[in-house]
């Protein structure tokens, strides 16, 4: 393994973490349209809080996919072809969610408006669940031949750990979305979002414990990386406690940070655990390693140069696009928005 190979493994991890941090609350907001908002009017106000951002947030996923293709083509090929149906369903969810914003603006009748709101909700519910399933199924080891072809049947994709993993990601995204919502609302909506997050946190603990137990038995993470895996899990629990306390005492900023960081650390748990492999095969001789799955040194050199130049610029204007919207808050009591 060269330095650049490890670097790009980390970069892919960071891009997926960025995706789940930013799209995480978009998904959570979409879930909030049914689990939190009480009528179509509130649903649109809730969605309004992510309307300027969701598209930019989704680019994190596209960049992660592109970067994976560029730096680890063999990983990209094995993972994407192996999880064919699951990825297809994720695409369908993302498509419905994506068009719902703009089509909702143009809806002519109550029925159409309701259709697009439902499209958003269903997309936002299934996309994180299926993604969580894919990642937590992948880490258990998949039937893979020497050429890297993955034959992931139903039992490989759907099992206890992957279902709990999918649920954990979805559930954390929902809480993350509520925390974001409380940042972007005032008065009644703000208080309700905080209150709901506070109550929902009680269920995070058993889900996390279940996830940790299953991960211990179903993966080799604790056999290979006992210390780092345990530390990450403990930090996730601590973050959850911190987020819970923050939500209870109305510090929405802290709560948002905590839920976002715990989503990021779930990615860290996965990437840390699979290292130095990228795809784990049921027969370990067929494992796809960072060492042999990567692109050529020249391609990695070029991609590193591109990343070093472009990423800081992207991060600056990406952050700026949130900064200019910082005072836009939804407040149902005083009309629509206050600044």
């Amino acid at each position: 393994m060269t330095f650049l190979q490890i670097l790009w493994f980390v970069v892919i991890g960071i891009l997926f973490a960025g995706f789940i941090f930013f799209e995480g609350f978009d998904f959570g907001i979409g879930m909030a349209t049914r689990f939190f908002a009480v009528d179509d009017q509130e649903r649109q106000q809730v969605l309004r809080s992510v309307a300027p951002h969701w598209d930019g947030n989704e680019v994190w996923l596209i960049t992660a996919g592109g970067a994976m293709f560029a730096s680890f083509p063999l990983w990209y090929a094995s993972l994407f072809s192996g999880y064919y149906i699951l990825l297809f369903l994720i695409l369908i969810a993302l498509i419905f969610r994506g068009v719902s914003f703009e089509f909702g603006v143009h809806a002519q009748t109550k029925f159409e408006r309701s259709t697009w709101l439902w499209a958003n909700f269903i997309g936002c519910l299934f996309a994180p669940f299926l993604l969580g399933m894919m990642l937590t199924s992948m880490i258990q080891g998949v039937p893979m031949d020497a050429q890297g072809n993955v034959w992931a049947g139903f039992g490989v994709v759907v099992n206890w750990l992957s279902v709990v993993g999918g649920l954990a990601v979805t559930y954390l995204c929902f809480i993350h979305g509520l925390n974001y919502l409380s940042l972007k609302t005032k008065n009644d909506l703000h208080a309700r979002a905080m209150n709901m997050a506070d109550k929902l946190y009680w269920l995070v603990y058993p889900v996390l414990v279940l996830f940790a137990l299953l991960a211990i038995f179903q993966t080799d993470f604790f056999a290979r990386h006992a210390i780092s895996s345990s530390v990450i899990l403990i930090v996730i629990v601590l973050l959850t406690v911190w987020g819970h306390i923050s939500a209870r005492f109305g510090h929405s900023g802290h709560a948002f940070l905590a839920s976002g960081l715990s989503l990021i650390l779930i990615m860290a748990f996965i990437f840390n655990g699979i290292f130095p492999r990228v795809m784990i095969a049921t027969q370990s001789k067929n494992d796809l390693l960072i060492h042999n799955a990567s692109a050529s040194p020249l391609t990695l050199d070029i991609m590193t140069g591109v990343l070093l130049v472009l990423l800081p610029i992207v991060l600056i204007y990406f952050a700026w696009s949130y900064w200019i919207q910082r005072r836009t808050k939804v407040d149902l009591a005083n009309g629509s928005e206050t600044y």
Binding site: G56, I62, G66, F69, V99, W151, L298, I324, S336
Partner: protein
């Protein structure tokens, strides 16, 4: 060649064609509309005339619809290389992935972030600065075309690579030569000018309908003139760059070129051009055809002499060149009829758009306003709304199907590129769902664009922005409508 069978290869090909063609209805539309909206907002910044602000807001509704569908269908594009063409991804990853990643990092972040800023900051920034965000969005979309076409150009004309002896995969040797690919610098301008034309004809055509329906006259005539000017310039440049592309193809992919002209046997010099022809692909013969003497030499070489190599000769050359590596059973004949007719629709449609733009500008001269009196001309312009989409699709059909049997020209065949894990059942399922989904989304896109036009530009005069505030929350009526 193998005709449509229910096998993994043909289902994968069908899916790629469907998803890409559907995606490429919206890509050029967004690129073109982005340009026109940016021009309109800039006109507002300079003249301060409210009509230009109204134009910006009205046409941006169509732009945003198109952009949304373009974005969601774009994710499929990135994922399907891995999902359906995993052996292609393994073979080409070293070259193909980098442009995709750069496209996301350089272009997608820019366009989607800036568009989000543009949509929701009408009251936060000065008009001049606000217009800049639309320009940045547009620049992002053009940059994304550059990088994805860099990847496509490698598939048409590989440069700057070597074959790794151990893995047999393509390996990057010279990144600059991938970017300096001569195919790219013909394909890229051709695609972007065709895209600007697409946006222009949609605005012009919709404005023509607006005039037919006696909507705001000043608004539509101003929109129409801006659009036709953009349409005239870009369709002219699209035709010119198309000619450059053809010149390159004659030498680089003679089979593709010969098929677009249905030339089986080498022509004499000067070569006549087949306007239309009945093609028998089994006997490899053309009978009968309507010919224009000298014309093919003129089109191919810009002079009255010169012969064109026929498909039969090209096939023999390709066999001599590739039989050692790919075996004798390869069929190098591309789908001749499809290419022949697609080329005619594309080239004819492109010329037509150029001429109609010219005619439309003449009719809409400010002093006389012939246009409002000539209903037939408005109808012609209205129909032109749809022509660029057909033309664009034909262009891609020629480019991609003309590469048959290669997925990467001379390096990998289509049959070797599919995912070994694909099954007919899974592909059939995804094909059907995609088809239904695209029909559904395409129908709503069309319905909402049409409804926007029917409502007309004067509908939401008092609201500052339709997007910042989809529905006024205090207005209970709006919700119950």
């Amino acid at each position: 060649m193998s005709y449509v069978l229910m096998n993994v290869i043909s289902l994968s090909r069908f899916q790629f064609a469907m998803t890409t063609l559907f995606h490429f209805l919206y890509v050029p539309l967004s690129m073109g509309l982005g340009l026109i909206v940016a021009i309109m907002e800039t006109a507002y910044v300079h003249t301060k005339k409210p009509v230009y602000l109204k134009m910006t807001k009205f046409w941006s509704k169509i732009f945003l619809l198109s952009f949304a569908v373009g974005v969601v269908t774009g994710i499929i594009q990135e994922f399907q290389f891995g999902m359906n063409w995993s052996n292609y991804s393994r073979f080409m990853g070293d070259i193909f992935g980098a442009p995709l990643a750069i496209e996301a990092l350089l272009a997608f972040f820019l366009e989607s972030t800036m568009l989000g800023v543009w949509m929701f900051t009408w009251d936060k920034f000065k008009p001049g600065l606000h217009a800049l965000f639309m320009w940045l969005t547009w620049i992002g979309s053009v940059l994304s075309a550059l990088w994805i076409l860099a990847a496509n150009s490698f598939m048409q004309h590989p440069t700057g690579f070597m074959i790794n002896r151990v893995t047999g995969h393509v390996r990057l040797v010279n990144f600059w030569s991938v970017l300096a690919n001569p195919q790219l610098w013909r394909e890229f301008p051709h695609v972007v000018f065709a895209s600007f034309t697409t946006g222009a004809m949609v605005v012009a055509g919709m404005a023509a309908f607006g005039l037919l329906w006696k909507q705001n006259h000043d608004f539509h005539i101003k929109s129409l003139r801006i659009a036709l000017l953009v349409g005239l310039i870009s369709s002219g440049l699209a035709v010119a760059t198309g000619d450059m592309q053809t010149q390159f193809i004659i030498k680089d992919q003679p089979m593709k070129f010969a098929a677009t002209e249905a030339v089986y046997k080498d022509t004499g010099s000067p070569a006549p051009w087949r306007v239309i022809a009945l093609i028998d692909t089994k006997k490899k013969a053309v009978n009968p055809s309507i010919d224009v003497p000298y014309m093919l030499s003129l089109l191919s070489y810009h002079k009255l002499t010169g012969s064109v190599t026929g498909m039969n000769s090209v096939s023999r050359e390709l066999h001599a060149k590739y039989d050692k590596k790919f075996g004798k059973n390869m069929d190098y004949y591309v789908p001749v009829k499809t290419l022949f007719w697609s080329f005619r629709v594309m080239a004819g449609g492109g010329m037509l758009v150029f001429l109609i733009s010219l005619l439309g500008l003449f009719f809409s001269r400010a002093k006389k306003d012939l246009l409002s009196k000539s209903k037939w001309m408005l109808w012609v312009l209205g129909i032109m709304t749809f022509v660029p989409f057909v033309v664009n699709s034909c262009g891609w059909i020629i480019t991609e199907m003309g590469r048959y049997p290669w997925v990467v020209y001379g390096l990998q065949t289509i049959a070797d590129a599919v995912s070994p894990t694909s099954t007919v059942g899974a592909l059939l399922f995804t094909n059907i769902v995609y088809f239904l989904l695209f029909s559904f989304i395409g129908a709503f896109m069309f319905y909402y664009a049409r409804k926007t036009l029917i409502d007309g530009p004067d509908k939401e005069e008092d609201e500052d922005s339709a997007y910042a505030q989809p529905v006024d929350p205090l207005d209970k009526e709006a919700f119950n409508s």
